[in-house]
Assembly symmetry: C2
Homo-oligomer: 244 residues x 2
DNA sequence: CCCTTGATTTGACCACGATCAAGGAAAAGG
DNA sequence: CCTTTTCCTTGATCGTGGTCAAATCAAGGG
């Protein structure tokens, strides 16, 4: 009783769109009070973008930030001659943007269909300046991204192709279903990336990715249906293959 | 006149050790007021550690943070079977530590002789909690480290051995002498890492690193004296070799 | 239904970087 | 000083993963 009442009070004034939004619960918006939420909501817009759509180009000036509501965004970097590397994946409810810097150091592109909640950089920058809670939340997310980036450096620098592909599948499995970490039942999910994207994420070619997936399938570590849907009967076996 | 007077006032009360400290000017201590500086100084201790000394072990609980005063610290991760990857290098006046997490996700080891200014985690954590400026500074450093990590992922995933070694030399050159970025005169420096460390940073073997250094030397891109001292006559040529 | 288009798989071959092995050079210790 | 140890270089050979090429599969569109 009291419980529900308090919840109502707490939600009163919260913009409708925010109420069910993951960004409000686990993302940066969780650091905002009702007043700030209303203000931000007034200047934000929901967008749906298609796979392949570019959100921010490398070196481009940033005018907007966004929260990922659903889907997967890939952050990529390119060498002058065109070789490409995916340097990060952002899932809901990650914050998308680079505070305190005018230009982005990498490009951001929708890997799947993506829903965004976009808002102006200047407004957030102002809110950051006078809301320590928001800055704290950003620091936490950034530290987590740094940890993930460094984990991935180990994968890129020292693992074999077979281990890289297994590591990738494990990473996706865990991100799609955080419970999968230590579940012993089978888990299954759709790959959010094409073979070409997977190759760019792992520093491999698509042929090698394909061959290693086939190998995992033939060895019974995974099942693949229609190229995108993957089932992992035993996460522990996958982890072994990934040298985790 | 007025200038120097103000400076005196500004420095009055500042602990002697901090006055000439880089961490105070470019590092996190720059975000502290005199009072905080005095408090921190009272609970901090300068240490000198030798190359190879381990500062923080992987998975170990963290009880201390530190500023790097001089020298280079390498952050490393290891696979169960012993393969190792350096996931970051910290130079003065970088902050060393992982706020908001009990255990470290990587090990930290002195690559050269290193001077540290160490202080207790709990004190800093409390100072962070009520000093938005400090948290802001930490966020900035973390964002920069994230950018660097992602830059390096491109190097690890997509560059050839030759390009990796050139990229490493360029990175060190720029870190030792930030002006080197666009200088056209020759620059020279001591390598802070052994061949083995360079290999671990680049995801290569020491043999390959050695061969590529020899190649760069024979091609006149660099000169090497007594294995550690490197001279780069033309930074632009090095950048070309690094595919920057 | 067939044709087009793009994504994925598979095969044959090759090269880059790893591995194995030895020798040389520089620093450390007696 | 010479010895020992560590670090670095160089050479010979091997194998993983890249390259090139073709076949197969899946999804729309006419």
């Amino acid at each position: 009783m009291d419980e529900t009442l308090r919840k109502d009070i707490h939600n009163s004034g919260v913009p409708a769109l925010c109420r069910a939004c993951e960004a409000r619960h686990r993302g940066v918006c969780g650091a905002l009070n009702v007043e700030q939420l209303v203000l931000l909501n007034k200047h934000s817009v929901r967008k749906k973008v298609e796979p392949g759509d570019e959100l921010v180009a490398e070196e481009q000036d940033i005018s907007n930030y966004a929260n990922v509501i659903s889907g997967v965004v890939k952050l990529t970097k390119m060498l002058p001659d065109g070789r490409q590397q995916i340097v990060g994946l952002q899932f809901a409810p990650d914050f998308l943007g680079r505070p305190f810097s005018k230009a982005s150091k990498h490009s951001a592109e929708a890997a799947t269909e993506v829903e965004l909640c976009a808002f102006s950089k200047s407004l957030i920058d102002r809110m950051i300046a006078d809301s320590p809670d928001l800055e704290h939340k950003l620091l936490e997310q950034t530290l987590n991204e740094l940890d993930e980036a460094r984990d991935w450096m180990l994968t890129l620098g020292r693992k074999t192709a077979a281990e890289k592909v297994a590591s990738f599948l494990h990473l996706i499995a865990v991100h799609i279903d955080p419970e999968a970490q230590d579940a012993d039942g089978p888990i299954s999910f759709d790959l959010p990336l094409t073979r070409a994207d997977i190759a760019d994420y792992l520093g491999l070619t698509i042929e090698t990715v394909s061959r290693q997936l086939t190998k995992l399938r033939k060895d019974g570590v995974i099942q693949i249906e229609s190229n995108r849907h993957v089932t992992v009967p035993d996460v522990l076996r996958l982890e072994e293959r990934a040298s985790l």
